[in-house]
């Protein structure tokens, strides 16, 4: 099936600085796609390219098989929710929301009806007569959404729209965004640097770093099976233990590290034995009571035990891995009550819970 939108091998430079390099992104109809990356990763540039605010230096941008690169901003079938909303402060909420229809020359009565409808949709039914300055941050957010959806675009671009909200409001808006997207059936391309937000909202996440795509996939897949060190550390906590690939048997790998021989599994093409690799294992997947006689696994000494409410975070070290702190998360129940700094434990995990990551040469 043809994707709704396809960025094919897109590159972009600012002067001598290459900000995007070989970006390939497809967006499917009705999809909630998040582009996740730290600041400076190029994620906003991708959004601006889709919106038409930036041109491209290489590759192509196709919409339903049609080349978009020569189509000006105002004729692209997308609308954008800007980071600071960009609501016109000299217009009422209703005027802001109806703007897209007005510039298309729609009749006043139709605009009024549609504005009322859309304001209802975003839960601002009675506030059309207000000015943006008279509204709270969350309300403005909804106005910006209403303004973006009124023209029934095929795709809505959202540029970190929740970053200005406080934690509680943000959680509420996340639920709202997600339900709105499902109700409308419009594709959302959402930009954020917040991995929790990305995981909570998205059907699919594309992780970008330094102008390149690191990895893409469903949130759970990215979380459980990161393929690059960046993805592994950017999405949630991860213990990354360096070593050398000793043996490979199907997906199952054995890695030699300074602290001992460890298990991991690999997705996709595997590196050759002897390559430098990392073993990525989540704190919640590390067992503290592994069989000391097992051939694989490592010993460690408890450095600190921190109580975090529902969880306890245990920090350990192994003298053979200088500078590395191994984190283990446990439910704060009786199972860890006896653990004190200085205690020696044996660490282990199921091979399926540890991802083998290639280290870029």
């Amino acid at each position: 099936m043809q994707p709704l939108l396809h960025l094919n091998n897109v590159s972009k430079r600012y002067g001598a600085v290459r900000v995007l390099d070989g970006i390939d992104i497809t967006v499917a109809d009705n999809e909630f796609l998040t582009i996740l990356g730290p600041s400076g990763s190029g994620k906003t540039t991708i959004l601006r390219i889709i919106g038409g605010f930036e041109g491209i230096d290489g590759g192509s941008l196709m919409f339903e098989g049609r080349d978009l690169s020569a189509v000006p901003i105002n004729r692209r079938p997308f609308n954008t929710v800007f980071q600071d909303y960009a609501l016109f402060h000299h217009m009422t909420v209703a005027e802001n929301v109806g703007y897209g229809l007005k510039v298309r020359g729609r009749p006043k009565a139709e605009i009024a009806a549609r504005v009322a409808e859309v304001l209802d949709t975003v839960g601002l039914g009675t506030l059309g007569g207000r000015y943006p300055a008279q509204m709270s941050g969350g309300q403005r957010q909804r106005v910006a959404l209403a303004r973006a959806i009124i023209c029934e675009p095929r795709l809505i671009l959202l540029d970190e729209p929740l970053s200005a909200l406080d934690v509680e409001l943000r959680a509420q808006m996340q639920r709202f965004l997600k339900s709105l997207q499902r109700r409308l059936g419009i594709a959302f391309v959402f930009i954020t640097h917040d991995q929790e937000e990305a995981i909570a909202l998205s059907d699919r996440i594309i992780v970008v770093n330094r102008g390149r795509i690191e990895q893409e996939g469903a949130p759970e897949e990215l979380y459980r099976r990161p393929r690059t060190p960046f993805t592994a550390s950017f999405l949630g906590d991860n213990n990354l233990i360096p070593g050398t690939l000793a043996a490979i048997d199907g997906r199952l790998c054995t890695v030699d590290t300074a602290a001992g021989r460890l298990d991991a599994t690999v997705d996709g093409p595997a590196p050759a034995p002897g390559s430098a690799v990392l073993v990525a294992v989540r704190p919640e997947h590390v067992r503290l009571d592994a069989d000391p006689a097992a051939p694989h696994g490592m010993s460690a000494e408890v450095a600190d035990v921190r109580f975090l409410g529902a969880n306890v975070m245990i920090e350990l070290f192994n003298p053979a891995l200088p500078g590395a702190v191994i984190k283990v998360r446990r439910l704060a129940d009786g199972s860890v009550a006896g653990l004190r700094p200085g205690a020696s434990v044996r660490l282990g995990w199921a091979a399926d819970d540890a991802a083998l990551l290639q280290v870029a040469p």
Binding site: P72, I73, N74, D84, A86, F88, H89, H90, Y99, V103
Partner: protein, 289 residues
Amino acid sequence: MNTSLRRDRQDLLRAGLGHALNLGLPLLFVVIPILSFVVVSFWTLQDGQILLIPTLANYRAFFTEGSYLPVYLQTVGLSLQVTLVNVALSTAIALFIFRRTPRMRFLILMSFMLPLFMSYIIKVYSIRSILGQRGLLNEAMLGLGLIDQPIEALLFSRTAIFIALAVLYLPYAILPIYLALDRIPANYLAASADLGATPMQTLRAVVLPLGRPGIAAGAVFTFILTFGDFVTPQMVGGTQGFTFGRIVFSQFGLALNWPLGSALAVILLATTLLAVALAGLSLRREHVR
């Protein structure tokens, strides 16, 4: 306790002094001079002597005698026309600057502000030497063969007044308009285009409405400066350059008719205040972001 009382008193004194300055300086430099000629405007002139007898005769004279009212109305008309031309031109220039890159903006803006650093009278003289029958413009056009006789109507005409006042007062209009445009967040323009507006629609619906405070300020500056100008129109407008400001000025020369001059000056001031008020009124709908 005694010391703290003294300190309180000192603080009070200092605060009082501060307030006195806050009120006193404008009072000293603005209100009192204006009040003084408001007072004089109600005095009587008899046989060349100013008598402290209150009268409305000076104001009555404005409406009934001589050419005061007709010249006043003509000057209002002229000022409105100059304002219209000037604001249209300044808005276009400000928009032009606004669309450049930030560094170019500053350079272009500065070059338009440059005339502000020149003496007023030198500017008028240079305009005159450019527009004169043997002036730069005519000589150049003659030299290029565009015309075979100097254009006489360039200088000492209404056209010349428009050109001169536009040149003189353009910076006063460009600056506030540009500053207003400069305050428009860049993503408003992006948002407007994103919502489907053409550049012209964005100009009409977003840029010009948001530039309105600047445009109003530019219009008020131009109107006030033009309305009160008693030198430029006279110097470049020839026999067409007689303005209300000139009449006010003439009462303070040999005529020594200070009461009438003051009354006319009060009317001039009232007119400029009215212009400011009208501009303020037109901005009522402006909302804070």
